[in-house]
């Protein structure tokens, strides 16, 4: 692996982290109005205690978090905080650290996202390849219009329709949450089944919303592969059709499909966050929704940083692995 390729990708990763942190630091300070003060004001208005001097409390907060120092000192402190995994404290669940909330949420999002993206990717790719394959049953083609329709509608709208259909009209699945609220989260069979049961509808929303995208992409890729000489050669050698389909057609069409996966990961993540918000799922999207409603500013910031870091890191890994998988791609430095 050429060293300048790795260096370029590493530079890009660091650039994203730098932009994200700087942006996260600057935006609240550039925009007029003080999120800390307005959050406090809402909190006081809700609790009804009039005697509190908001200005004084806010000033105390600012002194505590170093917000009364010059901008560049604050900026350096901000970086220091990130390196020591200190993202501030929740204003709503004071004084719970933001990092604690995020750590509790990440496994939920990771599980839901990898499960549903995995299913959608495999299912969509197989269906898409079959759609392009001349020997595949014609009946499959009725799938194309619904795929087109589903791939153009946002995930979270599907989520609302699914909740209505499968938890209100026919109450088969729970309308939200990640597990049964009366049970205690342990690692036993019952808990695992309960968690899976709660994940069915959110996962279904993500799978239905993205399977069409993979199928249509794979169809186009397979069509372009079918014209290649090696397919004609394999067929005229008399290889069994299944073998030609799997090892000559799908295998070669699948690799560019992985590139699309890397590119689409960002929008899938954004979509998953919104689906979680609809289902009040205990992942990052669910706590983001709660944090926005409660104007819990540091939690919002922490989640945003977390989302950006996670995606940048996973794309970095994909970029490094991909050329190993597909020798046709040369390392563009």
């Amino acid at each position: 692996m050429p060293i300048d390729y790795v260096a370029k990708r590493t530079f890009q990763l660091l650039l994203i982290v730098f932009i994200a942190v700087t942006f996260n630091f600057l935006i609240p300070r550039m925009i007029p109005g003080d999120p800390v003060e307005s959050a406090l004001q809402t909190k006081i208005a809700v609790s009804g205690s009039v005697s509190v001097d908001v200005q004084a409390v806010a000033a105390a907060y600012r002194a505590k978090f170093g917000l009364d120092k010059p901008l560049w000192v604050q900026y350096l402190n901000y970086w220091g905080g990130i390196f020591s995994r200190d993202l501030g404290v929740s204003l709503v669940d004071f004084p719970q650290p933001v990092i604690e909330k995020i750590q509790a949420a990440v496994p939920w999002t990771l599980g839901l996202l990898s499960l549903s993206t995995g299913i959608a990717f495999v299912l969509g790719s197989v269906l898409g390849a079959l759609l392009a394959w001349p020997r595949a049953p014609r009946a499959l083609h009725i799938l194309v219009p619904p795929f087109m329709l589903l791939s153009s509608v946002p995930f979270f709208l599907l989520a609302i329709v699914l909740v209505f259909t499968f938890s209100v009209v026919v109450p088969w699945f729970p309308p939200g949450g990640g597990f049964d609220p009366v049970s205690i989260l342990r690692f036993d069979m019952q808990t695992v089944l309960d968690v899976l049961y709660h994940a069915v509808l959110p996962a279904l929303a993500l799978v239905l919303g993205s399977v069409g995208f993979w199928a249509l992409g794979m169809r186009a890729l397979t069509i372009s592969v079918l014209g290649e000489d090696y397919i004609t050669f394999a067929e005229s050698k008399g290889l069994p059709p299944q073998r030609v389909f799997l090892w000559y057609g799908m295998r070669n069409a699948l690799l560019p499909q992985i590139t699309s996966l890397a590119i689409a990961l960002g929008s899938i993540l954004s979509g998953a966050v919104l689906v979680e918000a609809i289902f009040n799922y205990p992942g990052l999207g669910g706590i983001l929704f709660t944090a926005i409603a409660g104007k819990d500013y540091f939690v919002i910031q922490g989640i945003v940083l977390m989302l950006i870091f996670a995606l940048a890191l996973s794309l970095f890994v994909v970029d490094l692995i991909y050329p190993l998988v597909d020798p046709r791609i040369r390392y563009h430095a």
Binding site: I16, I278, I303, L307, L311
Partner: protein, 300 residues
């Protein structure tokens, strides 16, 4: 007499239908392009005309009896705050389209400028623009927009459009840059250069006109992405404070658990309207893609 007057009219009609059939059969005008244009035309027309026929007071809290199912008096029912859903829908749709258009136009203008600069002049400008655009493309858009929207105290439709536009320029920049790179090596550009045309003259007289289909395709993509992002932001409660949009309608229906309470007339209409807009934009963009990339026509 009647035969004489009828003849040319009939002749013209048959000529007209033949011409129409010719246009419809031309490979440039696919069925999806026409269907997409028709769907979007319909909804834009409704958005332009609709607000003249409704009383905006009915969209205020407590204007009607709350939580009514659709009836003759309230065609789309009322929400649990006593707002008339039909009025809300008629007022909300134009605002959602406006956000999409503002973000699409601003994002496209930035993308076109940067893409042209990057592709035509190359060098250090190209390197900087390319690296920044590539890096931002790997950032989940929602995350950046949440930070901006959460920091803005009073959200308006215009600010919403600009928030979304902050990231809507990366895709147009990339695709315009790639097209410029391929166009500037074509023979007619070389001929123009050999004829002594200035660089700016080549850019505006030779390159730009050939970019039009790509600009149209990526503009539709930008608008579609912008509406998707805006509706998502609104649905989690970061939408404009003082007007109805399709996304904020969904937010309120979520907030008052309309889904669990079986009030389908609250969240149903915005979902139908949003899906209608997206399907229209999708059909239009795949139609435009066929014009921009003629190879696609051969494939499917």
């Amino acid at each position: 007499m009647s035969a004489i007057t009828a003849m040319p009219a009939g002749g013209r009609r048959s000529y007209g239908t033949a011409a129409l059939r010719g246009i419809l059969r031309s490979p440039r005008l696919s069925g999806s392009l026409v269907a997409g244009l028709a769907m979007l035309g319909l909804i834009v027309l409704l958005a332009l005309v609709g607000p003249r026929f409704v009383n905006p007071r009915l969209a205020a809290v407590g204007a009607a009896r709350p939580s009514q199912a659709p009836s003759a008096q309230y065609v789309l029912g009322t929400d649990s705050q006593g707002r008339d859903m039909l009025t809300i829908m008629v007022l909300a749709t134009p605002q959602t389209l406006r956000i999409g258009l503002i973000a699409g136009v601003v994002g496209m203008a930035i993308g076109l400028t940067l893409g042209l600069l990057s592709g035509f002049f190359g060098g250090a400008i190209d390197a900087v623009i390319r690296i920044v655009a590539d890096s931002l493309m790997t950032v989940p858009n929602l995350a950046i927009m949440v930070i901006i929207a959460a920091s803005v105290g009073h959200m308006t439709v215009e600010l919403m459009g600009l928030t979304v536009a902050a990231l809507a320029w990366t895709h147009p920049t990339r695709s315009i840059r790639a097209q410029v790179l391929s166009i500037r090596e074509r023979s007619y550009v070389r001929v123009a250069r050999a004829n002594g045309e200035s660089e700016l003259g080549i850019l505006f007289r030779e390159v730009m006109p050939n970019l039009v289909p790509y600009i149209a395709a990526s503009f539709v993509g930008a608008v579609s992405g912008a509406i998707l992002a805006a509706v998502g932001l609104e649905a989690i409660g970061l939408g404009p404070n003082d007007v109805h949009t399709l996304g904020t309608t969904i937010y309120w229906s979520e907030k008052f658990s309309a889904v669990l309470r079986g009030q389908w007339w609250w969240w149903g209409p915005p979902i139908v309207a949003i899906s209608f807009i997206f399907v229209g934009l999708f059909l239009l963009s795949s139609g435009l893609d066929r014009i921009a990339n003629p190879k696609l026509r051969l494939r499917t």
